[in-house]
């Protein structure tokens, strides 16, 4: 039973995630996707007469149940079967992060960057607020996120999804390697 307290390797996690695609299709003809939930919340709460948010979001309410489940699953995991020990980090990443004063590797998310205290720092506000904004804006502009495009879309052999996924990766490489060092310096 040791495995339950250890981080799961990619060859366990990846196939399990992949199985969500047929699971959703077979239990209700739903295409796996997460970012649409953000649109449904906008449509439900602040449609503000914007055409993009005027549709029958109630038809898509399953998606909100699904993302609520994601939060609950994470809460259950952290409460009952958390990963033991500190996060194992590549030594080069650790040595680079130390330069910027990020030395706490006790959680999955660095508390020195993502916490209510960090929200009051320049780099914290950029990463939490602007980062979040780009995730929401970009995924809707692209018509999907990692789940809808990279996993569902490519699984269904959709070329637009492959293009979007390549752009996700390019954007990520640019941010991590070219821009993030300047933000972390702040």
């Amino acid at each position: 039973m040791n495995w339950i307290n250890q981080p799961w390797p990619w060859y366990v996690a990846g196939p399990l995630l992949g199985l969500i695609v047929p699971a959703l299709l077979l239990i209700g003809n739903k295409t796996f996707g997460i970012s649409s939930s953000l649109r449904h919340v906008c449509a439900a709460c602040f449609p503000a007469n914007v055409k993009f948010f005027k549709y029958n979001w109630k038809k898509e309410i399953w998606n909100l149940f699904f993302v609520a489940g994601v939060s609950i699953g994470a809460l259950l995991t952290i409460s009952f079967i958390p990963n033991a020990g500190i996060v194992n980090i590549h030594p080069e990443l650790a040595s680079d992060l130390t330069k910027y004063g990020i030395t706490d590797y006790s959680g999955l998310i660095p508390s020195q960057l993502f916490s209510w205290d960090a929200l009051l720092t320049a780099r914290g506000i950029i990463m939490i607020v602007i980062g979040g904004f780009l995730v929401g804006f970009g995924s809707r502009y692209a018509g999907g996120c990692t789940s809808g495009h990279a996993i569902s879309g490519i699984s269904n052999l959709q070329l637009p999804s492959l293009i979007a996924t390549c752009c996700f990766m390019i954007g990520g490489f640019i941010m991590t390697n070219a821009i993030l060092p300047f933000i972390l310096k702040l």
């Binding site: 695609v21 295409t31 914007v50 993009f52 898509e60 990692t146 996993i151 752009c167």
Partner: protein, 168 residues
């Protein structure tokens, strides 16, 4: 197929098909609690997210610094399993548990996938989270991520507002 063809004529379907990945819908009317099964699938998804450290900001940085195979292995094997599953569903014409035909909707290319994709990538590397992990990070107790989620909602809304002015 027949009901879908009629729907396709209507503007609503066109708009939903272009803009959201979740256009599939059951033509059956079920009471709301049928949606609880999606909570269950979501819970499994959330467990995998945390146990495999997919929601870790560090793992995302390692991916974009080419320091770890972990995330590539996860996304790659997820796609492989998804692809095989869809192939089998199509080949054997597997029906849903309610006996409906499984529907697939081709995506149309537009420039948004490039511009939006690049912007999304920038945000992904900053927050260390795509939308799914945002929900999971909040679940693990990192409550400040609620601010990121609200920002993501704002981003979605701003996109919707300026949609007609953006190149697609």
């Amino acid at each position: 197929m027949k009901i879908k063809d009629i729907n396709k004529e209507s503007g609503e379907f066109q708009q939903r098909a272009l803009d959201t990945v979740c256009v599939n819908e059951s033509h059956l009317n079920h009471p709301w609690w049928y949606n609880l099964k999606y909570v269950f699938v979501g819970i499994l998804f959330g467990i995998v997210f945390v146990k495999a450290e997919i929601i870790s900001w560090f793992r995302i940085q390692e991916m974009f610094r080419l320091e770890s195979f972990h995330m590539y292995g996860i996304i790659g094997s997820a796609i492989a399993v998804g692809m095989l599953s869809i192939f089998l569903i199509k080949k054997f014409n597997v029906k849903t548990i309610y006996g409906e035909e499984v529907e697939f909707h081709p995506k149309t290319f537009n420039k948004g996938q490039i511009f939006g994709g690049l912007l999304f990538g920038l945000g992904w590397a900053m927050t260390g989270a795509c939308p799914g992990p945002l929900f999971a990070q909040i679940g693990t107790g990192t409550t400040v991520i609620i601010v990121s989620l609200l920002s993501a909602l704002a981003g979605t809304w701003v996109y919707g507002y300026f949609r007609d002015k953006l190149p697609h």
